[in-house]
Amino acid sequence: MAERQSSSSWRARAVLVLLLGPALLWLLALIILPHVDLAFLSLRERTAPHEYAASLTQYRTFFTEPLYWHVFVRTAALSAIATALTLLVAFPMAWVITKVARGRSSSLLFVLCLIPFWVSETVRSLGWLILLRESGVLPALLVKLGITAAPVELLYHDATILVGLVYTSLLFMVVPLVSSLDSLDNSLIEAAYDLGANGPSILRRIVIPHAVPGITAGCIVVFMLTLGNYLTPTLLGGKNSQWFTELIYTQFIVRFNWEQGAAFGFLLLGLSTAMVALGLRLSGQRFVDVMRRT
């Protein structure tokens, strides 16, 4: 009996390993191995053709060259702003989908949020170009309405980059918010109202505390996506968008300086890890719990 039990538990373990196998392999081959390689790359310096020595030069360059850390800080700040804006836009959307709309119209609204994502990100961003460029739709409209005398260039501003980033990230904020607001029992809101609370105090004391895991999850995902976004800042911000991923791209592809690019990659990884840790600490959440809820 005991033998049979142990053999069945052995089998269960084997099944588990087999099921997890592909995921573990994927993790190892596509994430861990390249990163180990990049780590080695970032910690060396070319002393002569085909000759390398271990050094911290790549990281030192980052701190001594103002442009690099300037872009780094700028990317972090704009990403944080974009995340906050996405939250501000997505929260009312999620509220309407879960608490205002009923039945079919609620699912319809949710699908409407999803529809833009059927189009590739590149095409969507190019859509913004058509709308915002100097000869585009919106500047022409502004002239027609007499708001501006001549067409203005709406592309290549930080605000344009932010608009694009918020637009791209919206769904990733709406989904966790919808799931966490959906689980909020309406009678809690009514009970708070009945006990004398008003709109703002219900939001602050009941809705937000309940939605914190969803808010945290959405912010983490959006922040990571924004920080690592390459296409949107490049297309909408043009040459002077100064996004950190562009610096990495330049190092790897244009300058063929893989060592520098690898160091930048690690700095970006460190930045996103630090910001996520900070966010979790501030909201009093644990990473595992947050990810489980989404």
């Binding site: 029992d185 009678s187 809690l188 009514e190 009970a191 708070a192 109202y193 009945d194 006990l195 004398g196 609370a197 008003n198 105090s201 004391r205 009941i206 505390p209 309940h210």
Partner: protein, 370 residues
């Protein structure tokens, strides 16, 4: 007479084609326990939500403490509600739950902590202030929900079937506790339920509601012993329903014959004329059972039958008798002496009931609608 705590004046509420509450007027005296009893979908929840302010009546007015509640939102009404599933705030401690309303009124932190503590003590939960809501038992949560409302000293406490989710034993216990809490605080309670036993045990007055109207308002005793409509007779307490045609009417005494030919004497409630289709209601405990017909009181009509099934339920034990001539089923409560504990299915028995306690309604006239 002082102003009633609650006065509902010709209140109407329609949802699309469906009338939820139909021109309803009633008032609730200060300090009383008032229940609204009705089947699900009778409009009682809509009525309660209109009193709380979550639903706006189409017409009519609701006065609380003599003040019209027209255009007064729920957070400004002197009314608090205990929700069906209690709706305690899981993101807060028990103490914070109780202090929530006080905080909204701008009571200072130390003062509201003190008052929340005192209130928890009064409901027997001293020392629970620091606990999480999910650490409490069902009965304790119930008390927190009531404490959370009563700490605001409302004119009126509304309770929306708060015992519905509890298991039977706890429900019986909470019934007693609710009644004692109401007596201790003296706050006017308006309680809605579909459970007639809750309504009867708890209330000073009960309104039986059906299809958006009150069928009857009265003390539990009146409803039970003197129902005004067939609906009330059928809904409040167990009743034998005997449908037939009035064969003869003499004063308030109606002789009815069922379709299968059973002859029953009853007392008319409302207008009953010979030939009317009628329904009579007889309480199981109004009937007397004997093994031998001769042992029954001689001055009442006697009926014979066979035991169809035994329904043993301790003090509420009863038997179903299949009446001899018509095979109609008739329920008789067993006396608690244990005298009939050896009854067998199929055994021939005789039974009788006082015609004065068989209440007869003419079918069309008294039910009005439906």
């Amino acid at each position: 007479m002082s102003t009633p705590d609650l006065a509902v004046d010709h209140v109407v509420k329609r949802f699309a084609e469906h009338v939820a509450v139909e021109s309803l007027s009633f008032s609730v005296e200060r300090g009383s326990f008032f229940s609204i009893l009705g089947p699900s979908g009778c409009g009682k929840t809509t009525l309660l939500r209109m009193i709380a302010g979550f639903t706006v009546p189409d017409s009519g007015d609701i006065l609380i403490g003599g003040r019209s509640m027209r255009d007064v939102p729920p957070n400004r009404r002197p009314v608090n509600m205990v929700f069906q599933h209690l709706a305690l705030f899981p993101m807060m401690s028990v103490g914070e739950n109780v202090a929530f309303g006080l905080a909204r009124r701008g009571v200072a932190r130390t003062e509201r902590t003190k008052r929340a503590q005192a209130m928890l003590e009064r409901v027997g939960l001293a020392g629970a202030a620091g606990k999480r809501v999910d650490e409490l038992s069902g009965g304790q949560r119930q008390r927190v929900a009531i404490a959370r409302s009563l700490v605001l000293e409302p004119t009126l406490l509304l309770l929306d079937e708060p015992l519905g989710a509890l298991d039977l034993k706890l429900r019986e216990h909470m019934k007693i506790e609710l009644k004692q809490l109401q007596a201790a605080f003296g706050t006017t309670f308006v309680y809605i339920t579909h459970d007639q036993s809750e309504a009867l045990v708890l209330s000073d007055h009960v309104a039986v509601m059906n299809r958006g109207r009150f069928e009857q308002v009265g003390t539990p005793q009146t409803l039970y012993y003197d129902p005004q409509t067939p609906f009330v007779a059928g809904f409040v307490g167990a009743n034998n329903r005997i449908a037939g045609r009035a064969e003869s009417v003499a004063g308030d005494r109606v002789e009815l014959v069922t379709a299968s030919g059973w002859r029953v004497a009853s007392r008319a409630r409302g207008r009953v004329s010979a030939g009317d289709p009628v329904t009579a209601f007889v309480r199981p405990e109004a009937a007397v059972l004997e093994r031998a017909e001769a042992a029954l009181p001689a001055d009442q009509p006697r009926h014979r039958g066979k035991i169809a099934s035994l329904l043993f339920d301790g003090a509420n034990s009863a038997v179903l008798i299949s009446e001899q001539s018509s095979q109609s089923e008739f329920r008789v409560a067993l006396p608690q002496t244990g005298r009939f504990s050896d009854l067998k299915v199929g055994e021939p028995v005789a039974f009788t009931f006082d015609p004065m306690r068989a209440i007869c309604f003419a079918d069309v006239a008294s039910s009005g609608h439906g």
